[in-house]
């Protein structure tokens, strides 16, 4: 079975581990997806090698950005009824608090999913969902799953 078909089946079946496995960088970050319907929560388990400042025991800002961007991408991928691959067009992140050496969670809001572009926001937090550590927004270009990627 082709990689595209495997991914399509995983999305249709709601097999989140298989969807994450289709994106090597999501696997590298150790992302997991929990929940169903519209209330998915993405999690990046703490790992020593995600640290950016040993002195502060803080996660590298890039790993927090990575969690936000990959979660938004997965959200688009999973929420789409006809699976299309979301390619990030642009991304921006606001850092609100330092991220500590613990697991980080993310939830996304798919603002709009049009013919070609999906627009998404996301927030991530650690111990307290009411104290988010970062906020991000991104636009994604949507391509049919078996069409050639942009070049």
């Amino acid at each position: 079975m082709s990689a595209a078909k495997t991914l399509r089946k995983a999305i249709e079946a709601g097999d989140y581990p298989a969807v994450v496995a289709a994106i090597p960088y999501a696997t590298y970050l150790g992302l997991t997806v929990a929940g169903d319907g519209d209330a998915r929560i993405y999690r990046m388990p703490f790992r020593d090698d995600l640290i950016g400042s040993t002195r502060l025991g803080a996660l590298h800002g890039g790993t927090v950005a990575g969690l936000l961007e990959v979660s938004m991408q997965l959200e688009v991928l999973i929420a789409e009824t006809q699976p299309r691959l979301p390619y990030p067009v642009d991304f921006s992140v606001d850092y609100w608090r330092s991220a500590a050496s613990v697991d980080t969670y993310c939830r996304c809001r798919l603002i709009r999913s049009g013919r070609r572009i999906a627009q998404v926001q996301a927030e991530c937090w650690q111990d307290d969902p009411d104290k988010p550590v970062a906020f991000a927004r991104a636009d994604f270009l949507l391509r049919a799953i078996d069409q050639p990627s942009p070049g």
């Binding site: 800002g61 890039g62 390619y87 991304f91 921006s92 850092y95």
Partner: protein
């Protein structure tokens, strides 16, 4: 080389001093080590790093393209280094915000080069921009703009 710990003793115009600051900066960031971010050139205002390719960094394994988000991590680190080298002393910094424009996909099997320039500094904030490419500077894969907050605290001690 001894660790520069007095603001007055640091001459950031000296390429050797800049190289040593960059080396220590990179060595103190575990995630930079994990992704194997390399310092290429910090002699001038344009701070250059390189991220060697790894299969783990793919975003689209079918088309064999880098994930855009790993470029964001490399850009964040490189922008932070550019700011550190542009400020007097060795000041602790915090990324306030960062934006990426993904102009074209980065292809597998080729390293990413990140070039960052801190173009404006105020008492509280440093502004920086970066270009990501795969060997052809006039064909960037991504552009980055970021703002860093100055904490006023020393990185050392």
């Amino acid at each position: 080389m001894t660790e520069p710990d007095e603001r007055e003793q640091i001459d950031k115009r000296d390429p050797e001093v800049r190289a040593e600051i960059a080396r220590q900066f990179n060595a103190r960031i575990p995630h930079n080590g994990a992704i194997a971010l390399e310092i290429v050139d910090v002699a001038g205002e344009l701070v250059v790093t390189r991220l060697p390719y790894r299969d783990e960094f793919l975003g689209d394994p079918m088309a064999r393209l880098w994930h855009t988000a790993i470029g964001t991590t490399a850009a964040d680190s490189t922008c932070g280094l550019a700011v550190l080298l542009a400020l007097p002393g060795l000041e602790s910094l915090a990324t306030l915000d960062l934006r990426m424009d993904y102009l074209r996909p980065a292809v597998a099997d080729t390293a990413l080069t990140i070039e960052a320039e801190c173009h404006h500094v105020t008492q509280s904030v440093a502004f920086v921009r970066a270009t990501l490419h795969q060997g052809e500077r006039d064909r960037p894969t991504a552009l980055c703009t970021a703002a860093f907050m100055r904490t006023g605290r020393s990185l050392i001690g």
